[in-house]
């Protein structure tokens, strides 16, 4: 899949006329490189500056923003991790996002499978209400949601946050897995049925494994979406010991305005960004394939 698109691009490139146009082509290529390098610098420089600043003392940061750190102060990281509570928020986030991701993938796959491969009255209605749930702004629901959780005694608890994450990631998950399950060949399912597998067996041993590529793409999207989620925790999870990373960062930043430990603030940013960035660089090919698979549809 990836090789064919790459080949195609090479073909497109190679098929342009050599010779007469080649000087003009070189000019265009150089301009293209310059433009792309400029954009890349615009992306990298703020991140690089953040990384450098995370090793600086507050005096150094306030004194000269362009200077290099006098020495590598790893103490900033320690104070961000413990004093600012970033370590705790990090663990909370791992728990919440981990649980929510597993749950939403299971529930989403089950729902999408039934909607895609069984006909029953109301099928379309459910599908379209999922689509509507995908487009309406969460802000419309946030106040009533607050009281729904309150009534279930789930407000300000991690399980409450997990179930809300699952509910709001569900429409997207169902919507995208629907097309994957729809595209699976029916013969395999029938063969499983003839061999005596029940509906449960057919799903877990035959159909679900076949939908694995789709599951992987959706899981990546959901992971990033849930990891970055901000509104739901800020509104529904206001107990500071249950904070997730995104809201913990926001609250730390607003406090830092008074306490002024800028070094620790930059270190906290690096702690938040680094793991995702490392994972991204390792899986970047897979991720970009997923993005295009999901987005082009």
């Amino acid at each position: 899949m990836t090789t064919t698109t790459a080949d195609r691009a090479e073909f497109v490139a190679a098929s342009r006329a050599p010779g007469k146009r080649s000087r003009e082509g070189k000019g265009v290529a150089t301009t293209a490189h310059i433009a792309l390098i400029l954009w890349s610098l615009l992306v990298i420089l703020p991140l690089l500056w953040t990384l450098l600043s995370s090793f600086k003392s507050t005096q150094e940061i306030l004194g000269n923003p362009l200077s290099l750190p006098g020495k590598l102060r790893f103490g900033n990281y320690a104070s961000a991790w413990t004093t600012a509570g970033i370590g705790r928020y990090f663990l909370n986030t791992v728990v919440v996002v981990g649980c929510a991701l597993v749950l939403v993938m299971i529930l989403g796959a089950m729902c999408a499978y039934v909607l895609a491969r069984f006909s029953f009255p109301g099928n379309r209605l459910i599908y379209y209400s999922m689509l509507a749930g995908l487009t309406f702004p969460v802000f419309l629901a946030i106040v009533p949601l607050f009281f729904v959780l309150k009534n279930f005694a789930l407000l300000n608890t991690l399980p409450g946050l997990i179930i809300t994450y699952v509910a709001f990631a569900l429409p997207f998950t169902v919507f995208f897995l629907h097309s994957f399950f729809k595209a699976l060949p029916g013969e395999v399912y029938e063969a499983a049925q003839i061999d005596g597998a029940g509906e449960w067996r057919s799903f877990f041993s035959v159909m679900l494994p076949m939908a694995r590529p789709g599951m992987a793409s959706v899981a990546i999207f959901n992971f990033l979406g849930l990891w970055n989620q901000f509104l739901l925790p800020v509104a529904l999870n206001t107990d500071s010991k249950n904070y997730v990373l995104s809201q913990g960062m926001a609250s730390f930043a607003s406090q830092a305005g008074y306490a002024v430990d800028f070094g620790a603030l930059f270190a906290a940013v690096v702690i938040t960004v680094a793991p995702v960035l490392v994972v991204y660089i390792i899986f970047q090919r897979q991720l970009q394939v997923s993005v295009t698979a999901g987005g082009v549809k």
């Binding site: 490139a13 890349s40 992306v43 953040t50 901000f230 991204y280």
Partner: protein
């Protein structure tokens, strides 16, 4: 659309419907109950019911913690249309929904075009061989949490300790030596827009690169033979061929711009100088969770939803009117 019609199409000749012929065994019944019931229960309780309740709350004067909830009809909406601060927020959101998608798409398309056909004329494929690097780097912001993007840029823009003023005064623009980009009503909004665009471009660039590579190479060949230059190729060939992707991108970006909550909370939590960067979601959040005016704030939510739907409808309409429809039919 109706249910009966649906049964016919779903169980059409393509896939024999085994359901109708099979007996209702325990396996089958338990399967349907769990597989459909469980996800639906979660969805209905935590997504559908809050949305429906919101419509009702918006017609009351409910303050949440007291039991008193009076039906006030459309009073909240009338009040909203006389609320100068909220109207300012609406204007800011509309501004964002116009500028951010437009600039993001133009930038993303330009960069995507440069990567795919920019260096194509040399014949030796020396062109943009290392374009993978640009793709990887440009995509970085997509994996960084939006709140962190906002916080990083808030630091960059900070007068005195931020890198932007330091660089500008270093290259001789001394009037910016202590300029508060986010603290001045003239620049707060453009600076905030820039941050959002910075966060979005890479993702859409990757999307457009994929779309352009999906175009049949013979089309490019034909254009070349007809003597079309690169700019011509980009504008009159690539753009029409991937217009559906552009439409989708426009809608996603518009919805994100009408939200903008995370970015604005990170850059200017209070709404910025003279409310110049205040957006509807921020005002809704404060009204609900700081002031406790739940009825009034859900009315804001309804307006936000209406504006969002209106925006999506407008994009569809414009795309249809300008001739995007034939392509969709072909699909």
């Amino acid at each position: 659309m109706t249910v009966t019609q649906d049964v016919v199409t779903e169980g059409g000749p393509k896939r024999p419907a085994p359901r109708r012929r099979r007996p209702l065994t325990f396996d089958r019944v338990s399967f349907m109950v769990v597989f459909l019931g469980l996800p639906l229960a979660v969805f209905v309780i935590f997504v559908v019911s809050p949305f429906v309740q919101a419509l009702w709350y918006s017609l009351t004067d409910w303050s949440g913690f007291t039991s008193g909830m009076n039906f006030v009809g459309f009073d909240n909406y009338v009040k909203l249309f006389h609320d100068d601060i909220f109207l300012k927020a609406v204007r800011n959101n509309v501004e964002l929904a116009i500028v951010v998608p437009l600039v993001t798409i133009v930038l993303a398309l330009t960069l995507a075009t440069l990567v795919t056909v920019g260096g194509a004329g040399t014949g030796t494929v020396r062109g943009l061989r290392n374009s993978g690097f640009y793709r990887i780097v440009s995509f970085f912001p997509y994996v960084i949490p939006a709140i962190v993007i906002g916080l990083i840029w808030a630091q960059v823009f900070t007068p005195g300790s931020g890198i932007l003023d330091a660089v500008l005064s270093k290259i001789g623009l001394h009037q910016f030596e202590n300029y508060a980009w986010l603290g001045d009503a003239r620049t707060a909004m453009p600076a905030s827009m820039f941050v959002m665009i910075w966060g979005f471009v890479g993702f859409y660039m990757v999307l457009f690169i994929a779309a352009i590579r999906g175009i049949d190479p013979e089309v490019f060949e034909a254009a070349r033979i007809d003597g079309a230059g690169r700019f011509r190729t980009a504008v009159s060939l690539i753009l029409p061929l991937i217009r559906d992707n552009v439409q989708t991108a426009y809608i996603y970006l518009g919805i994100a711009a009408l939200d903008a909550f995370v970015y604005m909370q990170a850059l200017n939590p209070g709404g910025g100088p003279q409310n110049s960067t205040l957006v509807m979601p921020q005002q809704l959040f404060t009204t609900a969770f700081t002031k406790g005016q739940f009825g009034y704030s859900t009315a804001m939510g309804v307006i936000l939803a209406v504006v969002t739907m209106l925006f999506a409808f407008l994009v569809f309409l414009v795309n249809t009117l300008t001739g995007g429809r034939e392509r969709k039919v072909r699909r």
